[in-house]
């Protein structure tokens, strides 16, 4: 950088004939054009792919969501949306997915932060613990589903253990408790990943700040809420968003455990999508996809705002 500057300064000092200035201007604009061309050449494949596979079809989906049907292309504006919102399977799917995310995401954030803080303390075998906590993320859902079936079945291990404590058995996957099961599975899979994010962020908190706090006799709670949490706020945001995304993927566990038509409490958004696909109801599906996209964008903006308000006085 500095070398570049020096050279340029030298050139500037030398008097130039007017023709050369024009030539330099032309060269500069030439370079800008070349830059644009270069950047396009590098970005091109991805932009093209994203346009073809995501943007254009999504615009078509938006279009589909406001017409009567692919054959009768009459503009009906919100009719499809109203139909979807009144559809009872959609309501069930939306309710279950929202209820699941509303519980699982905060739990995932708090517990993984807890694990990260725990690994900051002086306990033996930390690197092993990190490996163990992270391992579920690498295990395919399909592989461990067998064990989950054994554990959560009515005649399964969990009920056997509970009955030893005198608690009557629960049909975990076919009762109001089903959401508990998938929350456990979700946490099992995702805590490790989030924990790593928090560990990295904790590492980046300036040590001097914490030392000063120690010298001034700040309590651990004070240190946590007034220093650490402030610096962690971008990570909290990121982990929250990531967990929301992963919470939509819990369908995998549900599907592999219970198939296409699970107990009503486990009927997720993806089930709704799959079943609508089977009947090729594109209007319904498009409206659902657009609604979901809108909800996600609003949610992301709200979270960004919240983080801005909370973490704005911290730099870095």
């Amino acid at each position: 950088m500095s070398r570049d500057k020096k050279i340029r300064v030298k050139r500037e000092k030398r008097p130039r004939p007017p023709g050369k200035a024009a030539r330099r201007a032309w060269e500069a604009s030439n370079e800008r054009v070349r830059d644009v061309l270069h950047s396009m050449a590098f970005m091109g494949p991805s932009l093209l792919g994203v346009s073809v596979f995501f943007i254009v079809p999504f615009l078509v989906v938006v279009y589909y969501s406001v017409i009567r049907s692919p054959i009768n292309r009459e503009f009906v504006f919100l009719d499809n949306f109203i139909a979807v919102l009144q559809n009872s399977s959609f309501q069930t799917a939306a309710k279950n997915t929202a209820a699941f995310s509303a519980v699982a995401v905060p739990l995932a954030v708090v517990l993984s932060l807890g694990l990260a803080l725990m690994l900051e303390c002086r306990i033996p075998g930390k690197s092993w613990l990190r490996t163990f906590f992270l391992s579920p993320m690498m295990v395919p859902v399909a592989s461990v589903v067998l064990i989950w079936q054994v554990v959560f079945h009515y005649n399964g291990t969990l009920n056997a253990v509970l009955s030893a404590f005198g608690i009557s058995p629960v049909d975990w996957l076919n009762s109001a408790y089903c959401q508990v099961v998938i929350i456990v599975l979700f946490l099992w899979k995702n805590l490790g990943y989030n924990m790593i994010l928090f560990m990295a962020a904790l590492n980046n908190i300036p040590k001097e700040l914490l030392e000063v706090a120690d010298v001034e006799g700040a309590s651990p709670a004070h240190k946590f809420f007034n220093i650490k949490l402030r610096y962690l706020s971008p990570t909290v945001l990121f982990v929250t968003i990531l967990s929301i995304i992963s919470s939509f993927k819990v369908f995998r566990e549900v599907y592999l455990l219970t198939g296409d038509y699970p107990y009503i409490g486990l009927y997720m958004m993806q089930h709704f999508m799959n079943n609508t696909f089977r009947y090729q109801e594109f209007q319904k599906m498009s409206a659902a996809a657009v609604l979901l996209a809108l909800v996600m964008v609003v949610l992301i903006i709200l979270l960004f705002r919240a983080e801005d308000a909370f973490g704005k006085d911290v730099e870095g």
């Binding site: 950088m1 950047s39 590098f42 970005m43 494949p45 991805s46 792919g49 994203v50 073809v52 596979f53 995501f54 079809p57 999504f58 989906v61 303390c121 306990i123 092993w128 613990l129 990190r130 163990f132 906590f133 391992s135 579920p136 993320m137 295990v139 395919p140 859902v141 399909a142 592989s143 461990v144 064990i147 989950w148 079936q149 054994v150 554990v151 079945h153 005649n155 399964g156 291990t157 099992w188 990943y193 994010l197 560990m199 990295a200 971008p234 990570t235 945001l237 995304i245 939509f248 592999l256 958004m269 993806q270 999508m273 799959n274 696909f277 599906m285 659902a288 996809a289 979901l292 996600m296």
Partner: protein, 294 residues
């Protein structure tokens, strides 16, 4: 005070050990159960899996017996899977030819895109980057219908390209790799430019070598994500014989639960190997995601 400190540490260790146990158990159990014979599996879990097939005669006891160590270590399940019925291996191969191209192509496309995002800044480009982030954050249910439509138009529905193409352009790697590349000192690139290197040379000889560990960790993350996929094949691949093992495993019937354990174990082997070999890269890769903004 001191006593309290040790008590706290002890308690914390206990909690940590409990968590470690809970996190590790399902994986270990799956692996150890894959070494049991079919009769032992039926004896232990008959009551759970018999309902699924609709026959109630196969089970022996009413409760399950989740066992850690097999009565008799046997490789019979593996022999069946690997030699006697190549059907399962075919499904495994389906997974491989879906996931490996996606990983290679996505990382390849992402590396040049990330270079572009790193090398040239501007209003339009930061808007584009933000757009990629939003796209990355969309749940699969949003992109599913668009994916289906394009595959239909291009006539690749029900072929593996319907999954590979969208996977190739998924913005996740672009996001992560851009974060990595922006850490390369700008002076390095400027110096190369003054030396007369072309953009392609700068990219190939300076950026990529600097990002080697990042590329590896991103490849692991992408691999694990697609190795796990269930939604895409369910919608985009209707033929059962084209389905990857992740979907097929759930359709194995009750009489073959023993086999299922062996297949499940085989299915996690590539992931576990990657994990054991690349854990540090993986951790680094996750840690660098930092925040979504900026």
């Amino acid at each position: 005070m001191r006593k309290n400190y040790y008590l706290g540490r002890g308690l914390l260790t206990l909690v940590a050990v409990f968590f470690a146990f809970a996190f590790l158990m399902p994986t270990v159990l799956t692996i150890s159960n894959s070494f049991m014979t079919q009769s032992e599996i039926s004896a232990n879990y008959g009551t759970v899996f018999s309902n699924a097939a609709g026959n109630t005669n196969t089970y022996i006891s009413d409760t399950v017996n989740l066992k850690f160590i097999p009565d008799k270590v046997s490789l019979s399940q593996y022999i069946t899977v690997l030699i006697k019925s190549p059907d399962y291996l075919l499904k495994f191969w389906n997974s491989v030819i879906l996931v490996v191209p996606i990983v290679l192509l996505q990382v390849g496309v992402a590396s040049i895109t990330a270079y572009s995002f790193t090398r040239w800044r501007g209003k339009l480009r930061s808007f584009l980057f933000f757009f990629y982030v939003i796209l990355m954050l969309m749940p699969y249910q949003v992109t599913l219908v668009p994916n289906y439509l394009v595959s239909d138009w291009l006539g690749i529905l029900n072929t593996r390209w319907a999954i590979i193409f969208p996977g190739m352009f998924a913005p996740f790697s672009v996001f992560l790799l851009t974060k990595f590349m922006r850490r390369i000192p700008a002076s390095l690139i400027e110096a190369a430019k003054l030396d007369g290197s072309s953009e392609w040379q700068i990219f190939k000889d300076i950026c990529l070598p600097q990002c080697r560990s990042a590329l590896y960790s991103i490849a692991i993350l992408v691999f694990i994500d697609y190795w796990n996929m269930v939604e895409q094949p369910l919608v985009l691949l209707q033929d059962a014989e084209k389905q990857p093992l992740s979907v097929y495993l759930s359709t194995i019937n009750a009489n073959e639960v023993g086999l299922a354990f062996a297949i499940a174990t085989i299915y996690m082997v590539p992931c576990l190997l990657l994990f054991l070999h690349g854990e540090d890269y993986l951790v680094e890769g996750i840690a660098h995601q930092g925040s979504v903004k900026g």
